[in-house]
Subunit: 328 residues, 2 copies
Protein backbone atom coordinates (compact mmCIF):
# COMPACT_ATOMS: atom_id res chain seq x y z
CA UNK A 1 0.00 0.00 0.00
CA UNK A 2 1.02 3.55 -0.78
CA UNK A 3 0.73 4.85 2.79
CA UNK A 4 2.79 6.11 5.68
CA UNK A 5 1.17 4.18 8.55
CA UNK A 6 -2.38 2.87 8.84
CA UNK A 7 -3.18 5.30 11.63
CA UNK A 8 -2.72 8.40 9.45
CA UNK A 9 -4.32 7.22 6.18
CA UNK A 10 -7.47 9.34 6.54
CA UNK A 11 -5.66 12.45 7.77
CA UNK A 12 -3.03 12.11 5.03
CA UNK A 13 -5.78 11.77 2.43
CA UNK A 14 -7.50 14.90 3.70
CA UNK A 15 -4.24 16.88 3.61
CA UNK A 16 -3.77 15.80 0.01
CA UNK A 17 -7.38 16.67 -0.86
CA UNK A 18 -6.92 20.14 0.64
CA UNK A 19 -3.75 20.73 -1.40
CA UNK A 20 -5.40 19.70 -4.66
CA UNK A 21 -8.72 21.47 -4.08
CA UNK A 22 -8.44 24.99 -2.70
CA UNK A 23 -12.13 25.40 -3.50
CA UNK A 24 -12.87 23.16 -0.48
CA UNK A 25 -12.40 23.96 3.19
CA UNK A 26 -10.81 20.88 4.71
CA UNK A 27 -10.61 20.64 8.49
CA UNK A 28 -8.11 17.80 8.79
CA UNK A 29 -8.25 17.60 12.57
CA UNK A 30 -12.04 17.56 12.89
CA UNK A 31 -12.44 15.64 9.62
CA UNK A 32 -15.01 17.82 7.96
CA UNK A 33 -14.89 18.87 4.29
CA UNK A 34 -17.03 21.90 3.35
CA UNK A 35 -17.51 23.82 0.11
CA UNK A 36 -15.73 27.11 0.58
CA UNK A 37 -18.73 29.33 -0.16
CA UNK A 38 -20.97 27.70 2.49
CA UNK A 39 -23.35 28.59 4.04
CA UNK A 40 -25.34 29.81 1.06
CA UNK A 41 -28.07 32.27 1.91
CA UNK A 42 -31.52 30.72 1.65
CA UNK A 43 -30.24 27.33 0.49
CA UNK A 44 -30.59 23.97 2.16
CA UNK A 45 -27.30 22.37 3.19
CA UNK A 46 -26.56 18.77 2.19
CA UNK A 47 -24.36 16.72 4.54
CA UNK A 48 -23.24 13.18 4.01
CA UNK A 49 -20.47 10.98 5.29
CA UNK A 50 -19.45 7.48 6.11
CA UNK A 51 -16.41 5.33 6.45
CA UNK A 52 -13.40 6.22 4.30
CA UNK A 53 -12.20 3.89 1.57
CA UNK A 54 -15.04 4.61 -0.88
CA UNK A 55 -13.47 7.67 -2.55
CA UNK A 56 -14.45 9.82 -4.35
CA UNK A 57 -17.60 9.21 -2.23
CA UNK A 58 -18.28 11.35 -0.09
CA UNK A 59 -15.65 14.10 0.23
CA UNK A 60 -15.05 14.04 -3.53
CA UNK A 61 -18.69 14.97 -4.09
CA UNK A 62 -18.57 18.24 -2.12
CA UNK A 63 -19.10 21.34 -4.22
CA UNK A 64 -21.66 23.43 -6.11
CA UNK A 65 -24.57 21.28 -7.26
CA UNK A 66 -23.90 18.36 -4.94
CA UNK A 67 -22.91 18.04 -1.25
CA UNK A 68 -22.36 21.06 0.98
CA UNK A 69 -20.18 19.04 3.36
CA UNK A 70 -18.89 15.55 4.04
CA UNK A 71 -17.66 13.78 7.17
CA UNK A 72 -15.15 11.00 6.53
CA UNK A 73 -14.79 8.35 9.21
CA UNK A 74 -11.91 5.96 9.67
CA UNK A 75 -11.61 3.35 6.90
CA UNK A 76 -14.88 1.40 6.73
CA UNK A 77 -15.98 2.98 10.04
CA UNK A 78 -18.76 5.47 10.64
CA UNK A 79 -17.84 9.08 11.37
CA UNK A 80 -18.88 10.34 14.81
CA UNK A 81 -21.77 12.69 15.62
CA UNK A 82 -19.43 15.56 16.47
CA UNK A 83 -18.23 15.67 12.85
CA UNK A 84 -21.78 15.72 11.52
CA UNK A 85 -22.86 18.50 13.89
CA UNK A 86 -19.85 20.60 12.90
CA UNK A 87 -20.67 20.02 9.22
CA UNK A 88 -24.32 20.96 9.75
CA UNK A 89 -23.34 24.14 11.60
CA UNK A 90 -20.89 25.06 8.84
CA UNK A 91 -23.45 24.79 6.03
CA UNK A 92 -26.72 25.85 7.66
CA UNK A 93 -27.95 29.24 6.47
CA UNK A 94 -31.17 28.93 8.41
CA UNK A 95 -32.84 26.95 5.62
CA UNK A 96 -32.03 23.64 7.27
CA UNK A 97 -29.82 20.67 6.53
CA UNK A 98 -30.43 17.28 4.91
CA UNK A 99 -28.42 14.34 6.23
CA UNK A 100 -27.83 11.69 3.56
CA UNK A 101 -27.18 8.40 5.39
CA UNK A 102 -26.14 5.08 3.90
CA UNK A 103 -27.89 2.22 5.66
CA UNK A 104 -25.21 0.79 7.92
CA UNK A 105 -25.96 0.38 11.61
CA UNK A 106 -23.14 2.65 12.81
CA UNK A 107 -23.90 5.43 10.34
CA UNK A 108 -27.61 5.36 11.14
CA UNK A 109 -27.03 5.57 14.90
CA UNK A 110 -24.46 8.33 14.63
CA UNK A 111 -26.45 10.47 12.19
CA UNK A 112 -29.53 10.05 14.43
CA UNK A 113 -27.59 11.28 17.41
CA UNK A 114 -26.09 14.12 15.38
CA UNK A 115 -29.54 15.20 14.19
CA UNK A 116 -30.70 15.51 17.80
CA UNK A 117 -27.62 17.47 18.79
CA UNK A 118 -27.95 19.78 15.78
CA UNK A 119 -31.64 20.39 16.49
CA UNK A 120 -30.62 21.32 20.05
CA UNK A 121 -28.39 23.97 18.48
CA UNK A 122 -31.34 25.32 16.51
CA UNK A 123 -30.54 23.70 13.18
CA UNK A 124 -33.47 22.14 11.36
CA UNK A 125 -32.42 18.65 10.19
CA UNK A 126 -34.12 16.23 7.80
CA UNK A 127 -32.76 12.82 6.87
CA UNK A 128 -32.81 10.38 4.01
CA UNK A 129 -31.72 6.76 4.30
CA UNK A 130 -30.07 5.18 1.26
CA UNK A 131 -30.69 1.45 0.92
CA UNK A 132 -30.49 0.41 -2.71
CA UNK A 133 -28.47 -2.81 -2.75
CA UNK A 134 -30.77 -5.68 -3.75
CA UNK A 135 -28.18 -8.40 -3.11
CA UNK A 136 -29.05 -9.27 0.48
CA UNK A 137 -30.95 -8.03 3.50
CA UNK A 138 -29.52 -7.97 7.03
CA UNK A 139 -25.88 -8.17 6.06
CA UNK A 140 -22.73 -7.63 8.06
CA UNK A 141 -23.02 -4.05 9.48
CA UNK A 142 -26.59 -3.63 8.17
CA UNK A 143 -30.19 -4.28 9.16
CA UNK A 144 -32.18 -4.23 5.93
CA UNK A 145 -30.55 -3.34 2.65
CA UNK A 146 -27.14 -1.78 2.25
CA UNK A 147 -26.63 1.68 0.78
CA UNK A 148 -24.29 1.70 -2.20
CA UNK A 149 -24.39 3.29 -5.68
CA UNK A 150 -27.69 5.12 -5.15
CA UNK A 151 -25.82 7.46 -2.85
CA UNK A 152 -24.27 9.15 -5.89
CA UNK A 153 -27.69 9.74 -7.45
CA UNK A 154 -29.24 10.97 -4.19
CA UNK A 155 -26.36 13.37 -3.59
CA UNK A 156 -26.38 14.67 -7.18
CA UNK A 157 -30.14 15.07 -7.65
CA UNK A 158 -30.91 16.42 -4.17
CA UNK A 159 -27.83 18.62 -4.51
CA UNK A 160 -29.17 20.12 -7.74
CA UNK A 161 -32.51 20.74 -6.05
CA UNK A 162 -30.84 22.44 -3.08
CA UNK A 163 -28.76 24.57 -5.45
CA UNK A 164 -32.01 25.83 -7.02
CA UNK A 165 -33.17 27.06 -3.62
CA UNK A 166 -35.88 24.47 -2.97
CA UNK A 167 -37.04 24.24 0.65
CA UNK A 168 -35.84 21.45 2.95
CA UNK A 169 -39.06 19.48 2.72
CA UNK A 170 -38.83 19.34 -1.09
CA UNK A 171 -35.14 18.50 -1.13
CA UNK A 172 -35.82 15.64 1.27
CA UNK A 173 -38.76 14.44 -0.83
CA UNK A 174 -36.59 14.37 -3.95
CA UNK A 175 -33.84 12.48 -2.11
CA UNK A 176 -36.36 9.88 -0.94
CA UNK A 177 -37.88 9.59 -4.39
CA UNK A 178 -34.43 8.98 -5.87
CA UNK A 179 -33.62 6.31 -3.30
CA UNK A 180 -36.94 4.58 -3.91
CA UNK A 181 -36.35 4.60 -7.66
CA UNK A 182 -32.81 3.25 -7.48
CA UNK A 183 -31.39 -0.28 -7.11
CA UNK A 184 -27.89 -1.74 -7.25
CA UNK A 185 -26.05 -5.03 -7.47
CA UNK A 186 -22.29 -5.58 -7.20
CA UNK A 187 -19.71 -8.30 -7.76
CA UNK A 188 -16.18 -8.79 -6.45
CA UNK A 189 -13.37 -10.41 -8.42
CA UNK A 190 -10.86 -9.99 -5.60
CA UNK A 191 -10.93 -9.23 -1.90
CA UNK A 192 -10.22 -5.82 -0.38
CA UNK A 193 -7.12 -4.98 1.65
CA UNK A 194 -7.55 -2.41 4.42
CA UNK A 195 -4.57 -0.41 5.70
CA UNK A 196 -5.19 -1.63 9.26
CA UNK A 197 -5.09 -5.31 8.31
CA UNK A 198 -2.57 -5.06 5.48
CA UNK A 199 -3.82 -8.25 3.86
CA UNK A 200 -7.10 -9.24 2.17
CA UNK A 201 -10.02 -9.02 4.61
CA UNK A 202 -11.69 -12.08 3.16
CA UNK A 203 -10.63 -15.03 1.11
CA UNK A 204 -11.67 -15.04 -2.55
CA UNK A 205 -9.61 -17.54 -4.54
CA UNK A 206 -8.37 -16.59 -8.00
CA UNK A 207 -10.80 -17.92 -10.59
CA UNK A 208 -13.87 -17.28 -8.43
CA UNK A 209 -16.14 -14.29 -7.98
CA UNK A 210 -18.64 -13.22 -5.33
CA UNK A 211 -22.06 -12.19 -6.63
CA UNK A 212 -23.81 -9.52 -4.56
CA UNK A 213 -20.76 -8.20 -2.71
CA UNK A 214 -21.04 -5.21 -0.39
CA UNK A 215 -18.77 -2.18 -0.54
CA UNK A 216 -16.84 -3.36 2.52
CA UNK A 217 -16.39 -6.85 1.16
CA UNK A 218 -19.45 -8.13 3.05
CA UNK A 219 -20.68 -11.48 1.75
CA UNK A 220 -23.12 -11.46 -1.15
CA UNK A 221 -25.47 -14.09 -2.48
CA UNK A 222 -23.10 -16.74 -3.75
CA UNK A 223 -19.67 -17.65 -5.03
CA UNK A 224 -19.14 -19.02 -8.49
CA UNK A 225 -16.35 -19.94 -10.85
CA UNK A 226 -15.31 -16.87 -12.85
CA UNK A 227 -17.96 -15.70 -15.32
CA UNK A 228 -17.58 -13.60 -18.45
CA UNK A 229 -18.36 -9.91 -18.45
CA UNK A 230 -21.53 -10.68 -20.40
CA UNK A 231 -22.69 -13.33 -17.93
CA UNK A 232 -22.04 -11.00 -15.00
CA UNK A 233 -24.02 -8.23 -16.71
CA UNK A 234 -26.95 -10.59 -17.23
CA UNK A 235 -26.89 -11.64 -13.58
CA UNK A 236 -26.45 -8.14 -12.13
CA UNK A 237 -28.99 -6.34 -14.32
CA UNK A 238 -31.57 -9.07 -13.84
CA UNK A 239 -31.06 -8.96 -10.06
CA UNK A 240 -31.80 -5.24 -10.16
CA UNK A 241 -34.78 -5.61 -12.51
CA UNK A 242 -36.33 -8.26 -10.28
CA UNK A 243 -36.82 -5.46 -7.80
CA UNK A 244 -37.27 -2.41 -10.00
CA UNK A 245 -39.46 -2.52 -13.09
CA UNK A 246 -38.77 0.83 -14.75
CA UNK A 247 -41.55 2.34 -16.81
CA UNK A 248 -39.46 5.47 -17.33
CA UNK A 249 -35.88 5.75 -18.67
CA UNK A 250 -33.04 5.07 -16.25
CA UNK A 251 -29.74 6.63 -15.32
CA UNK A 252 -27.10 3.90 -15.40
CA UNK A 253 -24.06 3.85 -13.15
CA UNK A 254 -21.47 1.23 -14.07
CA UNK A 255 -19.24 1.62 -11.07
CA UNK A 256 -15.80 0.21 -10.45
CA UNK A 257 -14.90 -1.07 -6.99
CA UNK A 258 -11.42 0.47 -7.24
CA UNK A 259 -9.14 -2.24 -8.60
CA UNK A 260 -10.76 -2.95 -11.99
CA UNK A 261 -9.23 -1.11 -14.98
CA UNK A 262 -11.36 1.50 -16.74
CA UNK A 263 -10.94 -0.44 -20.00
CA UNK A 264 -12.71 -3.41 -18.40
CA UNK A 265 -15.42 -1.18 -16.89
CA UNK A 266 -16.23 0.22 -20.32
CA UNK A 267 -16.35 -3.30 -21.72
CA UNK A 268 -18.69 -4.28 -18.89
CA UNK A 269 -20.84 -1.26 -19.70
CA UNK A 270 -21.24 -2.56 -23.26
CA UNK A 271 -22.69 -5.77 -21.82
CA UNK A 272 -24.90 -3.93 -19.32
CA UNK A 273 -26.34 -1.85 -22.16
CA UNK A 274 -26.94 -5.01 -24.19
CA UNK A 275 -28.95 -6.58 -21.35
CA UNK A 276 -30.94 -3.38 -20.76
CA UNK A 277 -31.77 -3.21 -24.44
CA UNK A 278 -32.87 -6.86 -24.45
CA UNK A 279 -35.07 -6.20 -21.39
CA UNK A 280 -36.52 -3.11 -23.13
CA UNK A 281 -35.29 -0.67 -20.50
CA UNK A 282 -34.67 2.79 -21.96
CA UNK A 283 -31.42 4.46 -20.94
CA UNK A 284 -31.34 8.23 -20.46
CA UNK A 285 -27.71 8.72 -19.31
CA UNK A 286 -24.77 6.47 -18.47
CA UNK A 287 -21.86 7.10 -16.11
CA UNK A 288 -18.87 4.73 -16.11
CA UNK A 289 -16.02 4.91 -13.61
CA UNK A 290 -14.79 4.43 -10.05
CA UNK A 291 -17.24 6.42 -7.93
CA UNK A 292 -18.33 4.27 -4.95
CA UNK A 293 -15.26 2.17 -4.33
CA UNK A 294 -13.98 -0.35 -1.88
CA UNK A 295 -10.27 0.53 -1.74
CA UNK A 296 -8.40 -1.84 -4.07
CA UNK A 297 -11.16 -4.41 -4.56
CA UNK A 298 -11.56 -5.66 -8.15
CA UNK A 299 -15.14 -5.78 -9.32
CA UNK A 300 -18.02 -3.62 -10.37
CA UNK A 301 -21.59 -2.71 -9.58
CA UNK A 302 -24.59 -1.73 -11.64
CA UNK A 303 -27.00 0.92 -10.38
CA UNK A 304 -30.21 1.88 -12.16
CA UNK A 305 -32.10 5.04 -11.22
CA UNK A 306 -35.49 5.54 -12.81
CA UNK A 307 -36.08 9.19 -13.70
CA UNK A 308 -38.89 11.41 -14.85
CA UNK A 309 -38.21 14.61 -16.81
CA UNK A 310 -37.71 16.59 -13.63
CA UNK A 311 -35.11 14.20 -12.19
CA UNK A 312 -33.34 14.03 -15.55
CA UNK A 313 -33.17 17.82 -15.58
CA UNK A 314 -31.63 17.75 -12.08
CA UNK A 315 -29.09 15.13 -13.27
CA UNK A 316 -28.04 17.34 -16.18
CA UNK A 317 -27.76 20.44 -13.98
CA UNK A 318 -24.22 21.81 -13.52
CA UNK A 319 -22.05 20.24 -10.84
CA UNK A 320 -18.50 21.03 -9.78
CA UNK A 321 -16.85 18.64 -7.35
CA UNK A 322 -13.51 16.79 -7.40
CA UNK A 323 -15.25 13.56 -8.40
CA UNK A 324 -18.10 14.69 -10.64
CA UNK A 325 -18.07 17.80 -12.76
CA UNK A 326 -19.91 19.18 -15.73
CA UNK A 327 -21.59 22.36 -16.93
CA UNK A 328 -19.40 24.67 -14.84
CA UNK B 1 -10.59 -9.98 -14.96
CA UNK B 2 -13.96 -8.47 -15.89
CA UNK B 3 -13.80 -9.41 -19.57
CA UNK B 4 -15.40 -11.69 -22.11
CA UNK B 5 -12.29 -13.00 -23.88
CA UNK B 6 -8.90 -11.35 -24.29
CA UNK B 7 -9.41 -10.96 -28.05
CA UNK B 8 -12.39 -8.60 -27.69
CA UNK B 9 -11.25 -6.44 -24.78
CA UNK B 10 -10.50 -3.35 -26.87
CA UNK B 11 -13.61 -3.66 -29.06
CA UNK B 12 -15.81 -4.26 -25.99
CA UNK B 13 -14.30 -1.20 -24.31
CA UNK B 14 -15.03 0.94 -27.36
CA UNK B 15 -18.64 -0.29 -27.53
CA UNK B 16 -19.05 0.68 -23.88
CA UNK B 17 -17.41 4.06 -24.45
CA UNK B 18 -19.80 4.74 -27.34
CA UNK B 19 -22.83 3.86 -25.20
CA UNK B 20 -21.77 6.16 -22.37
CA UNK B 21 -20.62 9.06 -24.54
CA UNK B 22 -22.95 9.95 -27.41
CA UNK B 23 -20.90 13.14 -27.83
CA UNK B 24 -18.14 10.98 -29.36
CA UNK B 25 -18.16 9.19 -32.70
CA UNK B 26 -16.72 5.76 -32.02
CA UNK B 27 -15.79 3.58 -34.97
CA UNK B 28 -15.43 0.24 -33.20
CA UNK B 29 -14.31 -1.68 -36.26
CA UNK B 30 -11.66 0.79 -37.41
CA UNK B 31 -10.80 1.75 -33.80
CA UNK B 32 -11.00 5.48 -34.15
CA UNK B 33 -12.66 7.81 -31.61
CA UNK B 34 -13.54 11.30 -32.86
CA UNK B 35 -15.31 14.25 -31.27
CA UNK B 36 -18.69 14.44 -32.92
CA UNK B 37 -18.40 18.03 -34.13
CA UNK B 38 -15.11 17.40 -36.02
CA UNK B 39 -13.76 18.73 -38.32
CA UNK B 40 -13.97 22.26 -36.94
CA UNK B 41 -13.63 24.97 -39.56
CA UNK B 42 -10.28 26.73 -39.36
CA UNK B 43 -9.07 24.70 -36.38
CA UNK B 44 -6.08 22.41 -36.12
CA UNK B 45 -6.96 18.79 -35.39
CA UNK B 46 -5.18 16.96 -32.56
CA UNK B 47 -4.70 13.21 -32.94
CA UNK B 48 -3.09 10.88 -30.45
CA UNK B 49 -3.16 7.18 -29.75
CA UNK B 50 -1.21 4.29 -28.40
CA UNK B 51 -1.68 0.90 -26.87
CA UNK B 52 -4.85 0.35 -24.85
CA UNK B 53 -4.67 -0.28 -21.10
CA UNK B 54 -3.83 3.30 -20.09
CA UNK B 55 -7.41 4.62 -19.91
CA UNK B 56 -8.67 7.29 -19.74
CA UNK B 57 -5.61 8.11 -21.94
CA UNK B 58 -6.15 8.59 -24.94
CA UNK B 59 -9.77 7.98 -25.99
CA UNK B 60 -11.02 9.44 -22.70
CA UNK B 61 -9.34 12.74 -23.57
CA UNK B 62 -11.23 13.30 -26.82
CA UNK B 63 -13.53 16.30 -26.79
CA UNK B 64 -13.70 20.10 -26.90
CA UNK B 65 -10.50 21.65 -25.54
CA UNK B 66 -8.38 18.50 -25.81
CA UNK B 67 -7.95 15.79 -28.48
CA UNK B 68 -9.91 15.80 -31.74
CA UNK B 69 -9.42 12.05 -32.17
CA UNK B 70 -7.69 9.04 -30.65
CA UNK B 71 -6.56 5.68 -32.05
CA UNK B 72 -6.48 2.86 -29.52
CA UNK B 73 -4.24 -0.11 -30.31
CA UNK B 74 -4.42 -3.53 -28.79
CA UNK B 75 -3.45 -3.67 -25.11
CA UNK B 76 0.10 -2.27 -24.74
CA UNK B 77 0.51 -2.40 -28.56
CA UNK B 78 0.80 0.49 -30.99
CA UNK B 79 -2.17 1.30 -33.20
CA UNK B 80 -1.55 0.92 -36.94
CA UNK B 81 -1.02 3.73 -39.49
CA UNK B 82 -4.41 3.11 -41.08
CA UNK B 83 -6.15 4.17 -37.84
CA UNK B 84 -4.08 7.34 -37.63
CA UNK B 85 -4.76 8.30 -41.25
CA UNK B 86 -8.49 7.77 -40.76
CA UNK B 87 -8.39 9.91 -37.64
CA UNK B 88 -6.45 12.66 -39.42
CA UNK B 89 -8.91 12.65 -42.32
CA UNK B 90 -11.85 12.81 -39.92
CA UNK B 91 -10.57 15.88 -38.05
CA UNK B 92 -8.72 17.87 -40.72
CA UNK B 93 -10.54 21.05 -41.75
CA UNK B 94 -7.68 22.17 -43.97
CA UNK B 95 -5.81 23.74 -41.04
CA UNK B 96 -3.68 20.64 -40.53
CA UNK B 97 -3.29 17.98 -37.88
CA UNK B 98 -0.87 17.52 -34.98
CA UNK B 99 0.12 13.95 -34.08
CA UNK B 100 0.95 13.55 -30.39
CA UNK B 101 3.21 10.52 -30.10
CA UNK B 102 4.48 8.87 -26.93
CA UNK B 103 8.08 7.76 -27.35
CA UNK B 104 7.79 3.99 -27.88
CA UNK B 105 9.43 2.44 -30.90
CA UNK B 106 6.24 1.02 -32.38
CA UNK B 107 4.24 4.21 -31.93
CA UNK B 108 6.98 6.35 -33.42
CA UNK B 109 7.32 4.16 -36.52
CA UNK B 110 3.59 3.89 -37.08
CA UNK B 111 2.88 7.59 -36.61
CA UNK B 112 5.79 8.40 -38.97
CA UNK B 113 4.31 6.16 -41.64
CA UNK B 114 0.84 7.58 -41.02
CA UNK B 115 2.15 11.13 -41.41
CA UNK B 116 3.57 10.26 -44.82
CA UNK B 117 0.34 8.61 -45.91
CA UNK B 118 -1.76 11.52 -44.66
CA UNK B 119 0.48 14.04 -46.43
CA UNK B 120 -0.02 11.99 -49.60
CA UNK B 121 -3.73 12.60 -49.14
CA UNK B 122 -3.15 16.32 -48.88
CA UNK B 123 -3.34 16.63 -45.10
CA UNK B 124 -0.70 18.82 -43.49
CA UNK B 125 0.75 16.93 -40.52
CA UNK B 126 3.02 18.09 -37.71
CA UNK B 127 4.27 15.89 -34.89
CA UNK B 128 5.33 16.14 -31.28
CA UNK B 129 7.17 13.39 -29.43
CA UNK B 130 6.44 13.00 -25.71
CA UNK B 131 9.40 11.72 -23.68
CA UNK B 132 9.14 12.90 -20.11
CA UNK B 133 10.02 9.88 -17.96
CA UNK B 134 13.34 10.53 -16.21
CA UNK B 135 13.62 7.02 -14.75
CA UNK B 136 15.67 5.36 -17.48
CA UNK B 137 16.80 5.79 -21.09
CA UNK B 138 16.62 3.03 -23.69
CA UNK B 139 14.07 0.87 -21.94
CA UNK B 140 12.04 -2.07 -23.14
CA UNK B 141 10.06 -0.76 -26.19
CA UNK B 142 11.87 2.60 -26.17
CA UNK B 143 14.98 4.28 -27.50
CA UNK B 144 15.53 7.35 -25.33
CA UNK B 145 13.06 8.33 -22.66
CA UNK B 146 9.56 6.92 -22.32
CA UNK B 147 6.46 9.06 -22.74
CA UNK B 148 4.14 8.97 -19.71
CA UNK B 149 2.30 11.60 -17.66
CA UNK B 150 3.39 14.56 -19.80
CA UNK B 151 1.02 13.28 -22.47
CA UNK B 152 -1.92 14.59 -20.44
CA UNK B 153 -0.38 18.05 -20.24
CA UNK B 154 0.59 18.11 -23.95
CA UNK B 155 -2.90 17.02 -24.98
CA UNK B 156 -4.64 19.51 -22.66
CA UNK B 157 -2.49 22.57 -23.37
CA UNK B 158 -2.09 22.03 -27.11
CA UNK B 159 -5.80 21.16 -27.22
CA UNK B 160 -6.69 24.48 -25.64
CA UNK B 161 -4.46 26.29 -28.14
CA UNK B 162 -6.09 24.48 -31.06
CA UNK B 163 -9.53 25.31 -29.68
CA UNK B 164 -8.57 28.99 -29.79
CA UNK B 165 -7.85 28.70 -33.50
CA UNK B 166 -4.05 28.96 -33.37
CA UNK B 167 -2.26 27.81 -36.54
CA UNK B 168 -0.58 24.39 -36.74
CA UNK B 169 2.92 25.76 -36.30
CA UNK B 170 1.97 27.46 -33.03
CA UNK B 171 0.04 24.48 -31.69
CA UNK B 172 3.06 22.29 -32.40
CA UNK B 173 5.39 24.80 -30.73
CA UNK B 174 3.25 24.83 -27.61
CA UNK B 175 3.11 21.04 -27.53
CA UNK B 176 6.92 20.88 -27.76
CA UNK B 177 7.35 23.53 -25.11
CA UNK B 178 5.08 21.59 -22.76
CA UNK B 179 6.99 18.36 -23.34
CA UNK B 180 10.31 20.10 -22.73
CA UNK B 181 9.02 21.62 -19.51
CA UNK B 182 7.61 18.36 -18.12
CA UNK B 183 9.19 15.42 -16.32
CA UNK B 184 7.78 12.29 -14.64
CA UNK B 185 8.80 9.47 -12.35
CA UNK B 186 6.69 6.42 -11.41
CA UNK B 187 6.70 3.54 -8.95
CA UNK B 188 4.97 0.16 -8.95
CA UNK B 189 3.74 -1.62 -5.84
CA UNK B 190 2.41 -4.58 -7.80
CA UNK B 191 2.79 -6.04 -11.27
CA UNK B 192 0.30 -5.57 -14.09
CA UNK B 193 -1.91 -8.35 -15.48
CA UNK B 194 -2.76 -8.15 -19.18
CA UNK B 195 -5.87 -9.86 -20.55
CA UNK B 196 -3.77 -11.86 -23.03
CA UNK B 197 -1.50 -13.30 -20.36
CA UNK B 198 -4.04 -13.51 -17.54
CA UNK B 199 -1.35 -13.42 -14.87
CA UNK B 200 1.16 -10.76 -13.74
CA UNK B 201 3.57 -9.86 -16.57
CA UNK B 202 6.50 -9.52 -14.21
CA UNK B 203 7.34 -10.71 -10.75
CA UNK B 204 7.19 -8.13 -7.96
CA UNK B 205 7.08 -9.82 -4.57
CA UNK B 206 4.76 -8.43 -1.88
CA UNK B 207 6.72 -6.10 0.37
CA UNK B 208 8.86 -4.74 -2.47
CA UNK B 209 8.42 -1.88 -4.90
CA UNK B 210 9.99 -0.94 -8.23
CA UNK B 211 11.28 2.62 -8.48
CA UNK B 212 11.11 4.14 -11.95
CA UNK B 213 8.57 1.74 -13.44
CA UNK B 214 7.19 2.27 -16.95
CA UNK B 215 3.51 2.30 -17.82
CA UNK B 216 3.75 -1.19 -19.30
CA UNK B 217 5.56 -2.59 -16.31
CA UNK B 218 8.97 -2.04 -17.94
CA UNK B 219 11.83 -2.22 -15.46
CA UNK B 220 12.80 0.95 -13.63
CA UNK B 221 15.91 1.93 -11.74
CA UNK B 222 15.85 -0.42 -8.80
CA UNK B 223 13.86 -2.62 -6.45
CA UNK B 224 13.65 -1.93 -2.76
CA UNK B 225 11.84 -3.13 0.31
CA UNK B 226 8.51 -1.29 0.65
CA UNK B 227 8.92 2.39 1.49
CA UNK B 228 6.45 4.79 3.11
CA UNK B 229 4.41 7.20 1.03
CA UNK B 230 6.64 10.01 2.30
CA UNK B 231 9.86 8.22 1.35
CA UNK B 232 8.49 7.45 -2.12
CA UNK B 233 7.47 11.11 -2.58
CA UNK B 234 11.00 12.22 -1.64
CA UNK B 235 12.54 9.79 -4.12
CA UNK B 236 10.14 10.52 -7.00
CA UNK B 237 10.09 14.30 -6.69
CA UNK B 238 13.87 14.49 -6.30
CA UNK B 239 14.32 12.28 -9.37
CA UNK B 240 12.19 14.74 -11.36
CA UNK B 241 13.93 17.80 -9.92
CA UNK B 242 17.37 16.40 -10.78
CA UNK B 243 16.31 16.91 -14.37
CA UNK B 244 13.97 19.89 -14.24
CA UNK B 245 14.80 22.92 -12.11
CA UNK B 246 11.63 24.98 -12.28
CA UNK B 247 11.97 28.73 -12.00
CA UNK B 248 8.24 29.13 -12.66
CA UNK B 249 5.32 27.47 -10.86
CA UNK B 250 4.42 23.91 -11.84
CA UNK B 251 1.32 21.93 -12.64
CA UNK B 252 1.42 18.74 -10.55
CA UNK B 253 -0.07 15.44 -11.68
CA UNK B 254 -0.23 12.77 -8.96
CA UNK B 255 -1.29 9.90 -11.13
CA UNK B 256 -2.50 6.47 -10.11
CA UNK B 257 -1.40 3.45 -12.13
CA UNK B 258 -4.88 1.92 -11.88
CA UNK B 259 -4.85 -0.34 -8.83
CA UNK B 260 -4.08 2.15 -6.07
CA UNK B 261 -7.09 3.53 -4.15
CA UNK B 262 -7.88 7.23 -4.51
CA UNK B 263 -7.58 7.61 -0.72
CA UNK B 264 -3.94 6.53 -0.96
CA UNK B 265 -3.29 8.78 -3.98
CA UNK B 266 -4.54 11.80 -2.03
CA UNK B 267 -2.31 10.81 0.88
CA UNK B 268 0.61 10.49 -1.51
CA UNK B 269 -0.23 13.93 -2.89
CA UNK B 270 0.11 15.38 0.62
CA UNK B 271 3.67 14.02 0.73
CA UNK B 272 4.47 15.22 -2.81
CA UNK B 273 3.33 18.72 -1.84
CA UNK B 274 5.47 18.57 1.31
CA UNK B 275 8.58 17.74 -0.72
CA UNK B 276 7.84 20.44 -3.32
CA UNK B 277 7.41 22.98 -0.54
CA UNK B 278 10.71 21.90 1.05
CA UNK B 279 12.45 22.23 -2.33
CA UNK B 280 10.86 25.68 -2.81
CA UNK B 281 8.96 24.73 -5.93
CA UNK B 282 5.78 26.79 -6.34
CA UNK B 283 2.65 24.84 -7.26
CA UNK B 284 0.09 26.46 -9.56
CA UNK B 285 -2.44 23.58 -9.90
CA UNK B 286 -2.68 19.96 -8.77
CA UNK B 287 -4.53 17.06 -10.35
CA UNK B 288 -4.90 13.77 -8.45
CA UNK B 289 -6.37 10.61 -9.92
CA UNK B 290 -6.02 7.71 -12.34
CA UNK B 291 -5.26 9.34 -15.71
CA UNK B 292 -2.34 7.50 -17.34
CA UNK B 293 -2.78 3.99 -16.06
CA UNK B 294 -1.33 0.57 -16.52
CA UNK B 295 -4.43 -1.63 -16.20
CA UNK B 296 -4.57 -2.96 -12.63
CA UNK B 297 -1.03 -2.08 -11.56
CA UNK B 298 -0.73 -0.62 -8.06
CA UNK B 299 1.50 2.40 -7.86
CA UNK B 300 1.69 6.05 -8.78
CA UNK B 301 3.68 8.59 -10.73
CA UNK B 302 4.53 12.23 -10.22
CA UNK B 303 4.61 14.61 -13.18
CA UNK B 304 5.69 18.24 -12.95
CA UNK B 305 5.00 20.68 -15.78
CA UNK B 306 6.57 24.10 -15.51
CA UNK B 307 4.22 26.80 -16.77
CA UNK B 308 4.29 30.49 -17.58
CA UNK B 309 1.14 32.62 -17.44
CA UNK B 310 0.16 31.65 -20.96
CA UNK B 311 0.41 27.90 -20.33
CA UNK B 312 -1.45 28.29 -17.04
CA UNK B 313 -4.24 30.09 -18.90
CA UNK B 314 -4.39 27.21 -21.40
CA UNK B 315 -4.56 24.72 -18.50
CA UNK B 316 -7.49 26.59 -16.95
CA UNK B 317 -9.33 26.84 -20.29
CA UNK B 318 -12.57 24.84 -20.53
CA UNK B 319 -12.32 21.16 -21.43
CA UNK B 320 -15.04 18.56 -21.88
CA UNK B 321 -13.91 14.96 -22.29
CA UNK B 322 -14.88 11.72 -20.53
CA UNK B 323 -11.70 11.81 -18.45
CA UNK B 324 -11.07 15.50 -17.84
CA UNK B 325 -13.78 18.14 -17.69
CA UNK B 326 -14.17 21.64 -16.36
CA UNK B 327 -15.54 24.99 -17.36
CA UNK B 328 -18.16 23.59 -19.75
Amino acid sequence: MLINVAETVVADGLRGLAAAHPELTVDVESRVVVRRDAPLEGRVGLVSGGGSGHEPLHAGFVGPGMLSAACPGEVFTSPVPDQMVRAAAAVDSGAGVLFIVKNYTGDVLNFDMAAELAEDEGIQVAKVLVNDDVAVTDSLYTAGRRGTGATLFVEKLAGAAAEEGRPLEQVQAIARQVNENTRSFGVALSAVTTPAKGSPTFDLPAGELELGIGIHGEPGRERRAMMTSGEIADFAVDAVLEDLQPSNPVLVLVNGMGGTPLLELYGFNAEVQRVLSQRRVAVARTLVGNYVTSLDMAGASVTLCQVDEELLRLWDAPVSTPGLRWGM
